[in-house]
Structure formats: structure tokens, C-alpha cells
């Protein structure tokens, strides 16, 4: 026993957790203390390698860790206590699962002898989080802890990334055991994600691409998750083939918005040219996207005449919604590299001049048109002004969920990956503010802006206090129309304009609220004052709540109405009451 007391790998479970974080290169974590994690907090107190950011609600810790992960490509880490601490993590874990964000959550649990006893702050954390994590573990023996923690980091970051949770009872945190550094045998032998694409399939894909007359590349968040190499290769592929490219919400920035082959985002609120190109193409190359229902519209009328190539690291994404002709399973960076190599060696750039002429005609419809006003700020205009004011700056954008999110995707031009943090799959209102906290922690000198709505931002407003405490100069740019705009838009389109509970009668005074938190509050009503106010927001080195009062009843177009195909978009100039009613016909009483 005396030998063991000098063994540097003998330590408590709590110490192992901090040690594992250090071994995995973690420098920042987000968390909230409580009874079942006090031994871990005691260890955190006695070291300086891992910085802990104290949030105001565990959901904030989860979204901050997501923002941190998405903006760096490294895993985000959250630390929460048992019971309510863990249940408050359910939303961010689900969010990270839907958007494939690597997240490691460590939760405290009541001591092992109390598990199942309905103890104070006990809940079945692994049971509750099983469907919202990629994998989770309850550690009952301190000697299993090191292995589980290392495996947790590996599972979160490899293959299709995702959230994991390690539940550690308090007695395991106190107990002493043997730690070991990460090693290969820590991982389940049954877990071996495929990264290399099948050579035969890659040749089939190249043959299709080379013969295309009306091609399109449809890229998604997988390209960004794969890393900088995948982004580089995607851009090169566009260059080499000359093909038009569109992207999902999650994939924005992989190809630059200023690039000449860029069609804009596709899907429900995508551009007319992107959706028409998808609908009429003869060869579609889907890279790291999953044919989500917001993308496809009506599935039986989705791109009816095309051969589809689908690159995805997750075999379950293949043929889930849309049948594809050439599936290629593996990491999209790898596969794009292989495709490029074969294409350059064996194929030449297809002549698709007439296809580009067709696309130019669709572009000329100017589907993102809106009517500017001198009296009232249009939300689209506000985002364009914000984009102009931040262009060329080192900027990261997060959003909440709703109309403002779609306008941000439509009107803010992303040039690089990892610059756009938004809740795509789960659609979590309240994501953007804490995500901005996480992004700013990772990039202290960058400009971090949460494009927000007045309703969403109130869901996690308490994290302003975190921003003030850590002097994180995040900018919360609220497009304030006093409505839950997207809810109202659907009520107008589908529910007879009965605006059931989509209007906020009593909004806080955001300027006073900012001041109450010790942040800066700004408010602007007039289009003429907008640019000056944005400059002021950018130049102040403190957290800012920016109350941008915008046209209350503006709606988000263009739009694919539900049950319609890509070529049945509702364009802004057609969005009068009659046309809208017709586009949504088949439902109940309409507008």
C-alpha cells in the first residue's frame, strides 16, 4: 500500500475527471455546481489549467459548450450536478445530437448506494439522456472512470460527432483508484466508424459527375464537421468542375457566399435559384447533408429527374428520406479528396453553359427581394446593415430560432466555416445567447454577435449575467417585432390569421434590462439611425443588448409551402393574400 501512495496515477475520481480534461486538451468548461459534483468543483478550485465558466442555468452551459465546439472544432465540455442539473441538460444534448456537435457532459449522481431510492436530487440520468446522446455511461467503480472518460471523448469526436454524457456518483468521485492516460483499448471494440470511401462507388460518382448536363452540389454541416481539409476540397471540387453549389442551414460558410458558383441556401426558406436548381438537376452530389424535411419539401416530388450521390459518415443517413443512386459511406474530407483525384485524372470539366444560363434566369427573379422603407426598419435591411458593418472583421454569428434566423441565413454572407452557430435540427429558441458566450470564451478578441428575436432571447436571457461576469463582450442583436414571428407567420398562412398567443404583450425594456445586468443597452427605431447604432455596438468592448425595433408584420420569404415541391415556391412579390391562400390550399380556412 505504501507504494501506491507515491504512485502519481493513484487519485480520487474527482481528480481523475480534471486530469482527463487536461489530457484531452480541454482548457475551458461550462458548468454549475451542486451537491453531487462538489468534489469535482473542489478539484477545479485547486488547479489553473482548466478554466471554469459559471453559467446561470445548466441549459446555458450546454449551449455555451455547443457554441465553443462549433466555433473551434474541438469538443465542448459541460459539468452539471445530479437531478435538475442533469434534466436541464436534456435540451442542449438533444440539440447537439440533431446537429452532430461533439459535446462531453459530466454529471454528478447521488452515491451508488442511494441510486434507485428517490434520493434528494436523484434522477435516472442515463435513462433520461439515453435517447439524446450518442452514448452515455454510469460509472459505478472508480477504476473504470479513466477508461470511460477517454472513451467518452473519443465517441463524441469521432465518426459522426455528437453529445455524450458520463454520470459519476458522488462516492465514486471521493473514492481513490488508478488513472491511466488515453489509450486505444479504452474504446468499445464494437465501435469503428468508417472513414474511407469505397473506391468502386467513388468511380461511379465521378462518372456521373463527368456526364452531368445539369449538376448541383448540395453540401451540409458534415463538411464543416469533417474539418478545414474538407472545406478546402469542397471549394476545389467546385472550382475544378464548375458546378453550382447550394448548402443547408448547417453548412453555410463551407463555400464562400461571395463565390461565383454560390446559389444561396436551399430548402423551405432557401433561394428560388437554389431550389429550382435542385428540382431540375440531372446529377446531385450531396455532401454531408441528410435530406431533412426542411430541405426536401414534398419527398415524392423531390428532384424527380436526378441521379443522386450521397456522401455521409453515418450509414443510417443513407436512404432514410430519399432514395439515392450512389451512396458513399465515410468521412467527406477523405471522399472529396478521392473524388477530386479521380476526376482530375480521368474526367474533364463538363460543358454546362446552358445550365448556368437557366440558373441566371432563376436568379433574376430576385427571390430575396424586400421593400425598404424610410420610416421603419425592415429586418432584412437590419441584417444587411450588420453584415456590411462587420464585413472583413473577425466575426462569429450565432442565432436563436425563428424568422430572424432565416433572415440571418439569407442575408448574412458567410465566407468561412465555423463562423455560423445556429440550432438547425432541434430548432432551440434560446440557443444563441449562451452559444455566443461559448464562442466568445473560445475567441476572446473576436466580434461575437447573436442575431436574436425578442421572444427567443428571453428564454436564456439570464446568461447576460455570465457574459458580464467574465467580461465577454457579446453583442445581442435583437430584431424586435414583438411577435413570435415564425409562429405568427404560420398562423397567418395556415390558421386563418388567428394569432393565438404569438404576441408578447409585455416585453421588457431591453435597454434597462441590459443596464440591470451591468451591460450596455442600445435601441434604434429609425432606418437612418441604424448604421450609427451598429457602429456603436461594435466599438464598445462590453456585452450589448441591441434592441432593433423592426417592422412588426414582415414575413419570411421565399418559402416552400408545406406539401409542395421545390418548384412551387412562394416568392415575395407573390405573397399577397390570394396567392398565399392558393399556395396553401388543401388545408383548412386560410388567410
Amino acid at each position: 500500500m505504501s507504494d501506491k501512495s507515491h504512485d502519481p496515477n493513484q487519485m480520487t475520481g474527482a481528480a481523475m475527471i480534471v486530469r482527463a480534461l487536461i489530457d484531452h486538451g480541454v482548457t475551458d468548461i461550462f458548468g454549475y455546481p451542486g451537491g453531487a459534483v462538489l468534489p469535482i468543483y473542489d478539484e477545479i478550485f485547486q488547479q489553473s489549467e482548466v478554466q471554469h465558466v459559471l453559467v446561470r442555468h445548466e441549459q446555458g452551459a450546454g449551449h455555451a459548450a455547443e457554441g465553443y465546439a462549433r466555433s473551434t472544432g474541438k469538443p465542448g465540455v459541460a459539468l452539471v450536478t445530479s437531478g435538475p442539473g442533469a434534466t436541464n441538460m436534456v435540451t442542449p444534448l438533444t440539440d447537439a445530437l440533431m446537429d452532430s456537435i461533439p459535446l462531453v457532459c459530466i454529471s454528478g449522481q447521488v452515491p451508488t448506494h442511494l441510486i434507485g431510492n428517490d434520493a434528494f436530487q436523484e434522477c435516472d440520468t442515463v435513462g433520461i439522456t439515453r435517447p439524446c446522446t450518442k452514448h452515455n455511461w454510469l460509472v459505478r467503480d472508480v477504476n473504470d472512470l479513466a477508461k470511460v472518460l477517454h472513451e467518452a471523448f473519443y465517441v463524441a469526436t469521432s465518426g459522426r460527432p455528437g453529445p455524450v454524457l458520463v454520470d459519476v456518483p458522488k462516492d465514486v468521485q471521493f473514492a481513490t483508484g488508478t488513472y491511466h492516460p488515453p489509450r486505444k483499448s479504452d474504446v468499445h471494440r464494437s465501435y469503428a466508424p468508417r472513414v474511407k470511401g469505397d473506391a468502386t462507388q467513388i468511380r461511379k460518382a465521378v462518372a456521373l459527375l463527368a456526364s452531368a448536363k445539369r449538376p448541383v452540389i448540395y453540401s451540409g454541416g458534415g463538411v464543416i464537421n469533417s474539418g478545414p481539409e474538407a472545406t478546402k476540397l469542397l471549394r476545389e471540387l467546385v472550382e475544378v468542375t464548375g458546378f453550382p453549389i447550394t448548402s443547408t442551414l448547417m453548412g453555410l460558410g463551407a463555400y464562400p457566399a461571395s463565390g461565383k458558383n454560390w446559389l444561396g441556401m436551399l430548402g423551405m426558406h432557401g433561394t428560388y435559384e437554389a431550389n429550382m436548381t435542385m428540382h431540375d438537376c440531372d446529377v446531385m452530389l450531396c455532401v454531408g447533408a441528410r435530406f431533412d424535411d426542411r430541405i426536401t419539401g414534398r419527398v415524392d416530388a423531390f428532384s424527380p429527374g436526378s441521379k443522386k450521390i450521397h456522401i455521409d459518415i453515418d450509414p443510417s443517413s443513407i436512404n432514410k428520406n430519399i432514395r439515392v443512386d450512389v451512396p458513399i459511406i465515410g468521412d467527406c474530407g477523405n471522399i472529396l479528396g478521392d473524388i477530386l483525384q479521380v476526376f482530375k485524372a480521368e474526367a474533364k470539366k463538363p460543358d454546362i453553359k446552358s445550365w448556368w444560363q437557366q440558373i441566371a434566369q432563376w436568379r433574376a427573379r430576385n427571390s430575396l427581394y424586400y421593400k425598404k422603407s424610410n420610416d421603419v426598419i425592415l429586418p432584412q435591411h437590419a441584417i444587411q446593415s450588420l453584415f456590411e458593418a462587420t464585413r472583413g472583421k473577425d466575426t462569429y454569428i450565432t442565432t436563436e430560432v425563428g424568422q430572424h434566423q432565416m433572415w440571418a441565413a439569407q442575408f448574412y454572407g458567410f465566407e468561412e466555416p465555423h463562423r455560423w452557430m445556429t440550432s438547425g435540427g432541434l430548432g432551440t429558441m434560446g440557443y444563441g445567447l449562451p452559444a455566443a458566450v461559448g464562442v466568445q470564451v473560445a475567441h476572446p478578441d473576436s466580434l461575437v454577435i447573436d442575431i436574436a428575436g425578442d421572444a427567443s432571447v428571453q428564454m436564456t436571457m439570464q446568461e447576460m449575467s455570465t457574459a458580464v461576469q467574465y467580461e465577454l463582450p457579446i453583442k445581442i442583436f435583437i430584431l424586435n417585432n414583438q411577435y413570435m414571428g415564425m409562429v405568427r407567420q404560420w398562423q397567418q398562412l395556415l390558421h386563418g390569421n388567428r394569432l393565438s398567443h404569438s404576441y408578447s404583450e409585455a416585453l421588457p425594456d431591453f435597454v434597462k434590462l441590459a443596464e440591470a445586468y451591468g451591460a450596455v443597452g442600445l435601441q434604434v427605431h429609425k432606418p437612418g439611425d441604424l448604421d450609427g447604432a451598429i457602429q456603436e455596438m461594435i466599438s464598445v468592448r462590453r456585452p450589448v443588448l441591441f434592441d432593433c425595433r423592426v417592422a412588426a408584420l414582415e414575413n419570411c420569404f421565399p418559402m416552400i409551402p408545406s406539401g409542395k415541391a421545390h418548384n412551387e415556391m412562394l416568392l415575395p412579390e407573390q405573397a399577397n393574400d390570394e396567392a398565399t391562400a392558393k399556395a396553401f390550399a388543401g388545408g383548412k380556412a386560410l388567410v
Binding site: 452514448h135 468499445h188 450509414p315 436512404n319 432514410k320 406539401g563
Partner: protein
């Protein structure tokens, strides 16, 4: 197509359902069965039968046999969704291999007297069911076979005084010398 007012496209799928038997080799660890069952309930897949037991104690391996129904696209999804779970080693669609043997064991309790009792015994003999418990007014039969055979036996016992049935669910294994 007449769509109700919804933010989602509501699709009618007309592909016919198929029944498939899946063998799933998993790490035997706490929660692994809950993961598999949770996947089926969470994604709305059907479970017709589910059998699970540790099969290689030293390697901590369990074998789960699931009989499920769905359209070909759904069956394909189920296999991929199972396969991507961390503790799952392999998923084999026994139905697609066309080289599998499926067996189920049932215990069937029948109560009756006189001619019914004699008839039950006679049928049990024809089905190679064994009597594993008997009283003057009842039998418990043990029968092994594929699902159809057991269903047929149970149907025959119904008019003869069927009391209750306990079934193990389907276990499946491939023919020939190779393992899964």
C-alpha cells in the same frame, strides 16, 4: 393530395410491409437492451418478438433476436440505426440470408376432460409436443418449432380448453459452418 394545415409534409406511404428477423450481437453491459428497445419505441418501429440472452460469457457478448415489420426502407433504417449504436458489434438480417433456422419454444396449458383430453394428447403427439406437467384435468405441453407451427398448435388447442400460453420469442441461427 389533400394536406391538413401543417408545418410538416404528411406523406402516405404505400409500400407493403415485410417481416424480417434480425440477429444483433452486442456487448453485454448495463442498459444495452434499454438502448435497443428505446430505439424501436423512439423511432416508431415495430417489435413482433424479442429474445435476448448472454451467449458468450467470457467475451461479455449477448445475442438479441428481433422480429420486426416495416417497409423495405424502414427495415434498412432499423438495421443501420442498430448498427451505429456503440455496443453493437454486428447486425445480420436473417431473413435476407435465406439460410437461417428460426425456433421458438412455447408452454401451452390446456384444461379439459374426456374426449377433449384425449384429442389434445393426440394432437400434441402429432406436433411432437411434450407433456411437462399433468393433473387429472390439465396438461402443460412444451412445443418447439417455428412461429407458424406454434401458432397452429395453439389454435388447435383453443377449442380443447386452452388456458394460457408462455412463449420465448424467436431465436435464429444461420445454417452451415460459419458464425455470424
Amino acid at each position: 393530395m389533400n394536406q391538413p394545415a401543417s408545418a410538416y409534409f404528411i406523406e402516405d406511404r404505400h409500400d407493403p410491409n415485410e417481416t424480417h428477423t434480425l440477429s444483433v450481437l452486442v456487448q453485454n453491459e448495463p442498459g444495452v437492451l434499454a438502448r435497443v428497445i428505446g430505439l424501436f419505441s423512439g423511432r416508431g418501429y415495430n417489435i413482433e418478438s424479442l429474445t435476448v440472452s448472454e451467449t458468450e460469457a467470457q467475451k461479455h457478448l449477448s445475442r438479441i433476436t428481433i422480429v420486426t415489420t416495416g417497409t423495405p426502407m424502414v427495415i434498412e433504417q432499423i438495421k443501420h440505426q442498430l448498427d451505429r449504436m456503440i455496443p453493437v458489434y454486428r447486425v445480420v438480417d436473417m431473413t435476407l440470408t435465406r439460410r437461417s433456422i428460426e425456433r421458438e419454444l412455447a408452454m401451452v396449458k390446456v384444461r379439459g376432460q374426456g374426449e377433449h383430453r384425449v384429442e389434445a394428447l393426440r394432437l400434441a403427439d402429432a406436433f411432437r409436443a411434450r407433456v411437462i406437467d399433468a393433473t387429472t384435468e390439465s396438461f402443460v405441453f412444451e412445443i418447439t418449432g417455428n412461429t407458424d407451427k406454434i401458432n397452429q398448435f395453439i389454435d388447435l388447442m383453443r377449442p380443447l380448453g386452452l388456458v394460457e400460453v408462455s412463449r420465448t420469442g424467436v431465436a435464429a441461427i444461420g445454417r452451415g459452418p460459419e458464425g455470424m
